[in-house]
């Protein structure tokens, strides 16, 4: 590089105005939002816990200590030595003597996976159908939208319950301890909201001048959809996706609490040994004698839901300050 060029570069960097993009601005707004930032930190912590659960957990999640069943958390001292808290079981043990803290740490995995994985099929199906429906219009639009109307009329949780009950004992229901069935059920319902959203965006965008211009210079339909319509609808889609995560997590917890969640694994080294919803169900059986068994997973669910909701709210405010809900 010659000195002249270097000087020219230096001049440019000195005098060039700092570039500000739409996404950069949104990111700045998000980073200023204290709730959203704390939500992101919490999510990062949950992710780390989920990954490093085997190192963090004091015991195996399925390991049974028969002498130590129903221990309270370590700070509780009841007088009866067999019912005192024990530092080797920081949050106590359950009815058969499994360590509550270890089970909670492993439970993080299920909630995160259930929140994040179904997002991909939901977005792919929802965006494709929304783009198609909005851009094609006419009969195609009518047909697709009537179809989404039907799915909209089906109460969501009812559908999940029927789906899981019906297919629980099939090959699909047994894969990944039943997690796959849950992913499929969630995806089948949740794409509808995304499709409607994208369709609405496309309907308002496709009359705009820049689409007309693109069509005039000979851009084909696929290009207009993917290069012009999709990027311009991305804001609302990201916000919708951010709220889909806590909804999925809540659904899994609810189903788990109804006894329709994860199938209890037989393999002691299972990746997904238990979920917070199932832990709530187990705790519910001992609600009078050992309320902390129910309290602990409930607190975890509440914290994770709050974290994702904070980030969702922050994204909504950052990407579209006018949007109400």
């Amino acid at each position: 590089m010659t000195t002249a060029v270097r000087q020219k570069n230096a001049l440019q960097t000195t005098f060039a105005r700092r570039e500000r993009s739409l996404w950069g601005d949104a990111w700045k707004r998000l980073a200023r939002n204290r709730a959203a930032v704390s939500g992101m930190i919490m999510i990062a912590a949950f992710v780390l816990i989920a990954i490093f659960a085997p190192w963090l957990a004091p015991h195996g999640p399925l390991e049974i200590f028969p002498q130590n069943s129903f221990r309270p958390p370590m700070w509780v001292h009841s007088g009866n030595p067999a019912r005192n808290g024990d530092p080797s079981f920081p949050l106590g043990t359950d009815s058969v003597g499994r360590d509550v803290l270890s089970r909670l740490l492993y439970g993080t995995r299920v909630s995160l996976v259930v929140g994040l994985i179904p997002l991909f099929p939901i977005l792919v199906i929802g965006i494709s159908i929304g783009l198609l429906s909005g851009y094609a219009g006419g009969q195609m639009d009518n047909l697709l939208m009537r179809f989404t109307d039907v799915i909209y009329a089906f109460p969501g949780l009812l559908f999940f319950i029927i789906m899981v009950t019906a297919l629980r004992d099939t090959a699909l229901g047994k894969m990944l301890n039943g997690l796959l069935l849950l992913f499929v059920s969630l995806s089948l319902v949740a794409w509808v909201g995304v499709a409607r959203l994208v369709r609405g965006q496309v309907l308002s965008l496709k009359e705009k001048e820049f689409i007309e211009a693109a069509r005039m210079i000979g851009a084909d339909t696929g290009r207009i959809m993917l290069k012009h319509l999709l990027p311009n609808s991305l804001g609302p889609i990201i916000v919708a996706a951010a709220f889909l995560i806590p909804t999925s997590i809540m659904t899994e917890a609810t189903l788990g609490f109804l006894g329709l969640g994860l199938r209890p694994p037989t393999d002691p080294h299972a990746i997904f040994p238990t979920s917070w919803g199932s832990l709530c169900l187990e705790g519910y059986a001992a609600i009078n004698s050992q309320p902390y068994l129910l309290l602990a997973p409930a607190v975890c669910i509440a914290l994770m839901m709050l974290a994702f909701t904070f980030v969702g709210d922050g994204l909504r405010d950052a990407l579209d300050p006018r949007m109400i809900d």
Partner: protein, 311 residues
Amino acid sequence: MISYFIRRLLWLVPVLFTVALITFVLMHTAPGGPWDTNPLAKRVDPRTEEILNRRYGLDKPLWQQFTNYVWNAVQGKLGPSYRLRGRDVEDVIIERFPTTAKLGLISLALALIVGLPLGIISALKQNSVVDYLSLFFATIGTAVPNFVLGIFLIIIFATGLRWVPVIANDWSTWRPWALPSIVLAAGTAAYLTRLTRASMLEVMNQDYIRTARAKGLAEIFVVLRHMVRNALIPVVTILGPALANLVTGSFIIEYLFSVPGMGRLYVTGVNQRDYSMIMGNTLFYAVIVALANLGVDVTYAFLDPRIRLEK
């Protein structure tokens, strides 16, 4: 207006038909029939099973079972329950629904009493302590799943303070209703607060509010007559689905608090593979949701003439 209403009403037919079809197909792909729920129990002997199947029409081909079912359902007959001996599904629903509806209505009333004033006040005092507190409450209310909230309240008020029974036997007094209705109301109250606040903030900047103030109207009338009245339009339209949500979403709460309503019926029906009970309940719920959605569309069309004129 009337043709719009009729068109929307007719649209219910394919919607409900599809809901029935999906439920029917799913229930019948499940391995195992209604007579062998417990794998450890003695199997029903083949002769009895045959008689049972004939009695309930399960010996016919599937498509015929479905058409029979739909035909009867149109006439309000949802068939005999497979589990509750000698009971018809529609009778059981009629018996249980009032409890669920009562819980839903109490919750909706609670949500309105809390949500509307909170939304209005926090909009009027934007960015004040009240506003932040109500936003905080609204975030918690939408984010925390209602059964988790229910768990917290049970542990505090039932097992801790013993103000209300953990599992109630007598539902004729108000005590057992308190916790489930508060829990059920929380989400809706939070949603109403957010919606009312946002809607108020939008209305507050309108020209007609300035006009009202300019002509010297007392502030209280500006707020009540001009702001609140207009701000409530979007709120009114969500009441239908809100009630539908409360009614159909209550089964986890009913299960948690042992409320003798439809939701518990549904959960037990699912566990026992009571096909006719599941089908009947699902259809009933779908009708409620569909009617609620219809209610919103009609209210909107009534409030906003532009929608009526659309195709």
